[in-house]
């Protein structure tokens, strides 16, 4: 009896888990595939465990004037949106010397949207602005490390618009116009 009850409970739990998976992961993933480029809403699942892709991430060059691409393992994400999330999470993660990140410490990724045209909207926590040093060079390096990380690794992303706390920003620190999506710019890469 006990084992039968356990089986029923286990079965119900499995159905519930499957339903949850279908609702929150499977459907968006399927939707993402069917649209070819992206889904509208970021899924809440993590990456497929253990699977990695190689991605170019961008860090401050030795002379401090440009970005240097560094190839790193990034968790695989199913679909453009999920992969974009994994790449940005890796790009904003703290790094050890000799690498220097152009993203202010403490910056968190809030969410990512990708339109069918390939315009990615990437929303960060306020540390992206509040923790910024200012100066046009640093501002350009911050912006293009994020823009290039997506555009250089994901062919489906054509441009990136950076948001902070869900809102469009005029600039991070008074220089670079963030009111429109920015395209990959390798002029800022060594």
């Amino acid at each position: 009896m006990i084992s039968r009850q356990a089986a029923i409970i286990g079965g119900l739990a499995a159905v519930a888990a499957l339903t949850i998976w279908v609702l929150f992961a499977g459907l968006p993933r399927w939707y993402g595939r069917s649209s070819g480029r992206s889904g509208a809403v970021a899924p809440t699942t993590a990456a497929v465990p253990g699977r990695k892709i190689k991605a170019s991430l961008f860090y401050v060059s030795d002379d401090g004037l440009r970005l240097t691409p560094v190839e790193r393992d990034v968790p695989f994400g199913e679909g453009t949106v999920e992969q974009a999330r994994q790449i940005i999470e890796a790009q904003i993660a703290p790094v050890a010397e000799p690498l220097v990140s152009a993203v202010p410490a403490g910056t968190k990724l809030r969410t990512i949207f990708v339109t069918p045209n390939g315009d990615a909207f990437v929303d960060f926590s306020r540390e992206l602005v509040a923790g910024h040093t200012g100066g046009s060079t640093n501002e350009l390096l911050t912006v293009y490390s994020l823009v290039n990380a997506l555009c250089a690794n994901l062919p489906a992303v054509r441009s990136v618009e950076l948001l902070v706390d869900g809102k469009q920003m005029e600039t991070l620190a008074g220089h670079v116009d963030l009111r429109q999506p920015l395209e990959k710019n390798l002029a800022w890469v060594q």
Binding site: V60, S61, D62, D63, G64, L65, R66, V100, S101, A102, T133, G134, G135, S136, T137, N138, L140, L141, S159, E170, T171, G174, H175, V176, D177, R179, Q180, P181, L182, E183, A187
Partner: protein, 485 residues
Amino acid sequence: MLLFAVNPAGGQSAAPPALTILSKDGRRTVPLTISNDQELILLDDLAAAFQLTTRDEPFGALTVGYKGKTILLTPDQPLVSIAGRLVSLPTAPTRNGRRVLVPVEFISRALTLIYDTRLDLRKPSRLLIVGEWRVPRVTMRVEGGDLPRIVVDASPRTESSVSQQNNSLLIKFEADALDLSIPALQPQPLVQGARFVEPVTLAIDLGPRFGGFRASTQPLETSTRLTIDLMSALPDAAPASVPPSTPPPPDLSVLSAPANGLRVIAIDPGHGGDDEGVKGAGGTKEKDLVLTVARRIKAAIEARLGIRVLLTREDDRAVALATRAAIANNNKADLFIGLHANASFRKAARGASILYAAFAREPEQSTRASLGSERLPAFGGGMRDVDLVFWDLAQIRYIARSGELAALLEEQFHDRIPLSAHPVDRAPLDVLESANMPAVILEMGYLTNEEQEAQMNGPEFQSTLVQAVFDAVVRFRDTVGSAPR
């Protein structure tokens, strides 16, 4: 009571020579006789005008009296005696029967010593002012060709206002009368001529190609200089003035056509107020440093080039990026130079760099930037064709010239100011996008580099940088600035 005086140069041969006397009783003229290039005046006329008495003395001498004081004149002697004191005259009085002629200097050298009211003889304009009237000496000239500049000097210092009325610019002076000299002007497409309008106004008659003007005043040592730059209308435009632009920023903005030449430069000291910009390790704030340097650039260019320099902020205050561009646009600046100090995540980073705008999908945006022209009502009446430009794409028409300005700055900085390994860069910089003129941002150096921070705070670095910017502006003016867009 208002008085006026006008003495058109070149008109002297037409009218018989006369001295205009301005006094509380009004204006009157007294004939002059010219003999050997000397202007002579009849003593009887002076006596009538100033209630003088004349009395014959022995040996042909003559006494001129006023309220108990006397001047003794001796025929054929270029000297007069006043209370035992001898005063020289350029020529001796001449006597022909009852008619005694004295040089006009008799008034300013002799008569003024016995008269109880101030006498101010303006010999070049044949004007005599009796009493304390504000009668500035006003001279004007027209410089330049296609886009003329009218320079009006008023001495002593006198305030004036400029307004447009129909096809004239009216320069009205804060004075009782004008001692005005108007040169003979050849009618030009923008300026037809100049004339005096009673009582204290100089009117500039505008030509059919007049499109707008920009006026500024500058105090000189003893005079006030009013400079009016005239702008040409668009090729097919009707003659009328430029409509005043409104401050920032609708998506669609009315901007006047760019003019050739270099008359106003906007210097934009970055940040300000709560936005301190970069903070150096030694405590230097970018907002303070750039304001100091901007003021020095302004002083150097205005004093030595006569180009008006406009600062987008004069003190430590926050100014929105769109407002900075609007200040430059509304004042029809010919150049925009943003001043900044830089920061790098690496302390070793050093050197100045010059940035100019980049637009995403530039060729596509370039065709979208202009909406063509539209006929709109103009300030002061009439209609005018104006270019309509997207506010945030205004700069796209000037990209090439902005690049040339950046290159000239780099050239002038070379060997004088440490340059970055990437001295000229392009980026989508907010403040530059709406600038309707060649525009750059000048990053003077890295405040995150301790050595550079100390350097940039020093007078030597600043003087060298100011001189380099000055030289680049001169080079731009002499090469790119005068070229058609």
